[in-house]
């Protein structure tokens, strides 16, 4: 029983992040609005970042900035480094996605996937 509680206490935030991730993923795959898809993608990616950062956490540790005190426990800095990079990659993707959405709006007059697909159907098939 104690093991179970320990396991739950030790894993619950991973589970929460998984649920968050899935919320984002659900928006991406279920919604037809292109902007909303990108917002969903952002939620998905941010949840992945949270997942990474929580694996770097050490109980009782402090932020990984050298305090000079001997025996100080620091949280793991490496996931932080990775996620800093990943955040920038994420915003780059968002920017490109939004730029594409703008061009799609200009060409089709809509950013709704369903509307665009209707147009494709009526156009001469490739």
């Amino acid at each position: 029983m104690a093991d179970l509680i320990r396991s739950i206490a030790g894993h619950y935030n991973y589970w929460m992040f998984v649920i968050l991730m899935m919320t984002g993923l659900f928006i991406v795959v279920s919604r037809g609005n292109l902007i909303k898809k990108i917002a969903g993608l952002n939620i998905f990616q941010t949840s992945v970042f949270l997942f990474y950062i929580s694996m770097g956490k050490v109980t009782g540790g402090t932020a990984p900035v050298n305090t000079g005190r001997a025996g100080e426990v620091y949280s793991n800095p490496l996931p932080h480094v990775l996620i800093l990079t990943a955040i920038v990659v994420g915003i780059a993707t968002t920017a490109v996605g939004l730029a594409l959405a703008v061009r799609i709006k200009e060409s089709y007059g809509s950013i709704e996937e369903d509307v665009i697909e209707d147009m494709h159907r009526t156009e001469r098939p490739a």
């Binding site: 292109l34 992945v48 990474y52 694996m55 990659v89 996605g97 594409l100 799609i104 665009i116 490739a126």
Partner: protein, 506 residues
């Protein structure tokens, strides 16, 4: 004296120069602005990069794996570039295709991209190339992600460059972006799990630590998410939906380049993870390959080839053919034998060359006639016999007719299947060739024996397109008659990945 010093510098930094040359040429393109100068810089960079990859291949073949610590920080603490028999074999393909695609782009890109945008286009092409090369050569899993995203972002915009002519390119690029980003995120989740299980990001270190650690759910999840993530990027059935549109609406030069390199690099990453990192000792990993990836590969071959037969658009037809061909490569990988792996590697290179040439030839046809719809191309073989001959030669390669590179691939895969005692697989591979015959012959019949449209206007095709297309085709045909180099390279790579299994046959 100076030459000697330069040579020494190049030799010392060879692995990183391969990537840095195109990476740094990209900003140079942007700054230069003039489209002719930009093109010259881009072409020069890709050729230089190609020469460097060839040098690297020779060096690795002669002296064994080469490790380069970036910034001088030793692995696993710093990022390592590591060239071994496997990636040194793939790198020349990527840079080589780029070397053909850039001259080709000069002839064709005017149709899709306006002059003052062309420096941006060439920048993006170089970034894509640099990203793909970086993914292939790096020995650090997170670095793979970073360079994968460079190449992916660049390839989204390259696909969107076709939007000047057909707005559907924008939507195709957007879908590609969504699918690609989901794939990349899955990949990141996967390497997160791996990092949690081992505490390292270096491939060699990962392999070492995973070999001794018991395989638990964490590692298995890492395996699953990396498989799906990379599967999305390489258009493994049923994760292929982005590909047909992306290949159909991108500018011809882009389709030729991406079809020959992007999915191939993803396959490389898959091989690297399966064989180097995971090692497939865990029954779960092996069974997944055998019971999931191989059937998916075979279903992909048959389903995608069948869909290809019913396409009216030639580019879309060959895009579906690419999905089918990825199935062959996955099947070889899933055989888990040195022969199967070698067959996949041979296939990666041979199909890259053939499909690159094929998309270039189709691009010429499209440019000259203004259409790629088969129903509008009846009898075109009489007006453009040489272009049709190039398409036919490439198509025969897809079927696997002797003296083409595709025949060698098929031979290697069937040998591997027979060697592994998988009779049904050998049969399926050969039977599926008939489907390839089906779609290639639809083109031949329509183009050569159909009634020609007398009113058709044929625009001249620039030599800048003709020469690279035929050059690449010649390379692919040469690979069909002189397969020894590619086969030996593939065998060496397969042997290096599966050292505990011996007896690699031809």
């Amino acid at each position: 004296m100076i030459a000697g010093a330069t040579a020494g510098f190049i030799a010392k930094h060879l692995p990183v120069l391969v990537v840095l040359v195109p990476l740094m040429a990209a900003p140079a393109c942007l700054i230069t602005g003039n489209r002719h100068a930009t093109w010259a810089i881009a072409t020069l960079a890709s050729w230089t990069s190609f020469a460097l990859t060839v040098a690297l291949f020779i060096r690795v073949a002669g002296q064994g794996p080469l490790s380069y610590s970036l910034g001088g920080w030793a692995a696993p603490f710093g990022i390592e570039y590591r060239a071994d028999a496997l990636n040194a074999f793939i790198l020349p393909l990527i840079a080589g295709i780029a070397s053909f695609a850039l001259p080709y782009a000069r002839g064709s890109i005017g149709r899709d991209v306006e002059p003052r945008q062309q420096n941006l286009f060439y920048s993006a092409l170089l970034l894509c190339l640099a990203g793909l090369l970086g993914v292939t050569i790096t020995g650090d899993v997170f670095n793979i992600f970073v360079f994968l995203e460079i190449s992916s972002l660049a390839s989204y915009v390259l696909v969107a460059a076709g939007g000047g002519r057909d707005r559907r390119a924008f939507k195709a690029a957007f879908d590609y972006l969504i699918m690609g980003t989901i794939g990349a995120s899955f990949f990141v989740i996967g390497i997160g799990f791996l990092y949690m299980a081992t505490g390292t990001l270096n491939i060699a270190d990962l392999a070492h630590r995973l070999a001794t650690a018991p395989a638990d759910r964490t590692v298995r999840m890492a395996y699953g998410f990396i498989l799906v993530g990379i599967g999305l990027k390489l258009a493994m059935m049923p994760l292929h939906q982005w590909l047909p549109n992306a290949y159909s609406y991108a500018p011809p030069a882009v389709t030729a380049f991406l079809a020959a390199t992007a999915t191939k690099v993803s396959l490389y990453v898959l091989i690297r993870f399966l064989y180097t990192v995971f090692g497939l000792d865990d029954p779960f990993e092996a069974q997944t390959l055998k019971l999931l990836v191989m059937p998916l590969g075979i279903i992909g071959i048959f389903a995608a080839s069948t869909v290809a037969i019913f396409q009216n658009d030639i580019r879309r037809m060959f895009a579906w053919s690419s999905i089918a061909q990825a199935g062959y490569m996955l099947t070889g990988i899933a055989l888990m034998t040195p022969q199967g792996l070698a067959a996949s590697l041979v296939n990666i290179v041979n199909h890259g060359l053939t499909k690159g040439a094929l998309f270039m030839a189709v691009g010429m046809l499209t440019l000259a006639t203004g259409t790629s719809r088969l129903s509008d191309l009846r009898g075109i073989g009489r007006t453009m016999p040489w272009t049709m001959a190039a398409i036919l030669a490439g198509g025969l390669g897809l079927i696997g007719v002797p003296l083409t590179a595709g025949f060698i691939s098929k031979w290697a895969l069937v040998s591997a299947a027979l060697d592994a005692g998988q009779w049904w697989l050998a049969g399926a591979v050969l039977l599926s060739s008939l489907l390839a015959l089906g779609y290639v012959w639809r083109i031949v019949e329509t183009a050569c024996f159909g009634k020609a449209d007398e009113t058709r206007v044929i625009e001249p095709v620039p030599l800048a397109m003709v020469i690279p297309a035929w050059g690449l085709l010649a390379v692919s045909l040469y690979a069909g008659v002189q397969p020894a180099l590619i086969m030996e390279g593939a065998n060496a790579a397969a042997r290096s990945l599966l050292p505990h299994l011996t007896g690699v046959g031809g």
